[in-house]
Amino acid sequence: MNDSNPPPVTEKMRAEDVHAWFGPTHALKGVTMSVPDKQVTAIIGPSGCGKSTFVRCLNRMHEVVPGARVEGKVLLDGQNIYGSRVNPVRVRRHVGMVFQKPNPFPTMSIRDNVLAGLRPNGQKVDDPASVVETALKHAALWDEAKDVLDRSGSSLSGGQQQRLCIARALALEPEVLLMDEPCSALDPIATARIEELIHEISDRYTIVIVTHNMQQAARVADTTAFFYQGEIVEVGETDQIFTRPKNQKTEDYITGRFG
């Protein structure tokens, strides 16, 4: 992937020649890349380059869009998640997702929001109090939320709501966490807290973050991939991408000389 002493990391996920379509629109044109285990991988690129589509292919969220389809393989620990006998719902338990706009369930309490993914059909959860506490602690929201667990999720600030969504995703104990522009609706302080959180949880989870904010990618990611027009232009160590990219297109994009 890059030539400067790659650390011995194992591969958590691997996309192999992944194509994706929205109806007739060919949004991803054969993407092959690996996602290193317990590291942060950032995906950057201009609007419409396929970066969100790509991460949605990593947990079978793309195909839920009407008219959308996927071809190619996505391996999670070596198993193809598009295999014929694979249940997409189970895939999404292993590969969680946090979206651009914080989307807590507005009618649910903070507590119920955290537990929502664990009991989609109202099942019982063992020791819910401990699950809620652990997830909120991992999402760095416990201190702020522990006394107001019965309040509505929407009573929190935008940054807190996003951390609640992260707690909801972490409660399922996923192995991979996909974050699609998780800070684009947040102010700089809330953004800094999410970035700190990403840093903290990256020794336990494999994280893939899509971001428009290149400084954010430079700050949080170990590996950065640049997407353009549905293809990977360059992928490498973040330090290399932001100081000496190999591809002229990457250079032009990250320095602001595009188009």
Binding site: Q215, F242, T243, R244, D252, I254, T255, G256, R257, G259
Partner: protein, 230 residues
Amino acid sequence: MARQHTDKEYEAELVKLREQLLVMGGRVEEMIASSIKALVERDTELAQKTIELDAHVNNAEVRTDELCLRILARRQPVASDLRFITMALKLVVDLERIGDVCVNICERAIELNEEPPLKSLADMPRMTETIQAMVHDALDAFVAGDTEKAQQVIARDRSVDAYYAQTFRELLTYMIEDPRNISRAMCLQAVAKHLERIGDHATNLAEMVVFQVKGKDIRHTGRKKDKPPA
């Protein structure tokens, strides 16, 4: 940096930075030439004037640093822009130092002009031309992103080092011959050392050009330098 920035103001800042560096470089080149001219032609007035030029060079260093910091704070530059700006911050240090060294040469020239000449300085202008060209070419290479030219500058430093070693030996014989020569010989030795230092600064500039263009650090990679005798 072939393509222009989408943000024209950012583009203008980078153009301004490049221009400032070139103006500063031009001043420094002028100081090198006139300090040695003042020495060879025994022109104390020219030496004084050259010393005064140093204030402009110092000022240019401060203004370039300010501009670089402003760009870093406002633009968060990356990739070639980041390398350009961080190299500019280092480049001005070497340029400013060359200015200081020229002042030192002028000071020695003024001292030497008080006494009769020790020896012919016929070889000095030739050496100075080489060194001045090294600085000039390093800056040219910086502007053009020409690593070939930068490598040539680095290669030429050997001849400067050899010149210094030769001058040192020659001046030593003058000092051995007659102790009354010692103070003047020491002054000339200092000048030769100063010229040799300018060659080193030019080499630094050239190494920065390679980093700026290729993102590859070639400093301290085992290049054997001709060491002056101890």
